[in-house]
């Protein structure tokens, strides 16, 4: 199986996915959607690492993707627990309601 993918195209795909996630983080007010967009951003960063690893025939990119995966899993578990708290206090998932620090 001979497969030749232009390096730039794979990187461009990673960049597009990253910026879709960034726009999602900025424009949504629902905390769940913000976490979802963060997942998209982390995933695209890991994708760029795997592409770079494939370019230089090294496994290091894949190892770093696994690290990103672990960080994403930890982040999303804490984040969703905080979303449950937000809903408990304010009966909404509107992130703007959490702008004061008094809980």
């Amino acid at each position: 199986m001979s497969l030749a993918i232009p390096f730039e195209h794979a990187m461009i795909l990673a960049a597009i996915l990253f910026f879709i996630g960034l726009a999602g983080v900025m424009m949504r007010r629902d905390a769940i959607f913000i976490l979802l967009s963060l997942e998209v951003m982390l995933n695209s960063a890991g994708f760029a690492l795997v592409v770079a690893g494939a370019q230089w025939h090294r496994g290091d990119g894949q190892v770093m993707f696994l690290f990103i995966l672990a960080v994403a899993a930890a982040e999303v578990s804490i984040g969703l627990a905080l979303v449950l708290w937000l809903y408990h206090w304010h009966k909404t998932v509107d992130i703007d309601k959490a702008s004061s620090m008094r809980g």
């Binding site: 199986m1 001979s2 497969l3 030749a4 993918i5 232009p6 390096f7 730039e8 195209h9 794979a10 990187m11 461009i12 795909l13 960049a15 597009i16 996915l17 910026f19 879709i20 996630g21 726009a23 999602g24 900025m26 424009m27 007010r29 629902d30 769940i32 959607f33 976490l35 979802l36 997942e39 998209v40 995933n43 994708f47 795997v50 690893g53 494939a54 496994g59 894949q62 190892v63 993707f65 696994l66 690290f67 995966l69 672990a70 960080v71 994403a72 899993a73 930890a74 982040e75 999303v76 578990s77 804490i78 969703l80 627990a81 979303v83 449950l84 708290w85 909404t92 998932v93 509107d94």
Partner: protein, 175 residues
């Protein structure tokens, strides 16, 4: 074969766009799942089967289930969809979208006019990745285990306190 890459890439972009812009949370989750699966397919095409399996199992399995649980627990139905429709108006999303598009254009410009190269796919076996992971990156693995432990303790603490408080409210003790 490289056609498969472009098709999967197009599916990833379209489904991610839909996931970020949906009003219904469950629909967004399903679109994100499609996006993750297409990224996993691209990993497979790039000769990284180990990472592709992890993408499906951890992202498509564990993290998606976590999101689905929270959406179900909160029971965000018609009320939240109406709220979303009110929040996601044109003046709200057009500003961030333009800013992100400008940054993306700059990055695409840099990537496009940089040195060009072609990836010759040489499959990496799980064995090679494991040797790297438990050899030079052993310290990283230990740090990741600390991060996961912190995530576990933090999530447990938050959920435990929440449960205690809700039980107290249910029994009439109040806040």
């Amino acid at each position: 074969m490289s056609t498969a890459f472009y098709i999967a890439g197009a599916v990833a972009i379209i489904s991610t766009l839909l996931a970020v812009t949906r009003i219904n949370a469950v629909h967004a989750l399903l679109y994100l799942l499609v996006s993750l699966l297409s990224v996993a397919l691209i990993f497979l095409l790039l000769g990284a089967p180990f990472v592709a399996a992890f993408e499906v199992i951890i992202y498509g399995g564990a993290i998606m289930v976590l999101f689905a649980f929270v959406v179900m627990m909160l029971g965000l139905g018609r009320k939240s969809m109406a709220e979303e429709r009110r929040w996601l108006t044109l003046p709200v999303w057009v500003g961030p979208a333009i800013l992100a598009a400008v940054l993306m254009t700059e990055l695409l410009y840099v990537v496009h006019f940089g040195p060009s190269a072609t990836i010759e796919v040489v499959p990496t076996t799980p064995h090679e990745v494991a040797v790297l992971l438990l050899g030079p990156y052993l310290l990283g693995v230990e740090l990741v285990s600390v991060v996961l432990l912190l995530g576990l303790v933090g999530a447990f603490h938050l959920a435990y306190q929440l449960g205690k408080r809700e039980r107290a409210i249910k029994m009439g003790v109040g806040r």
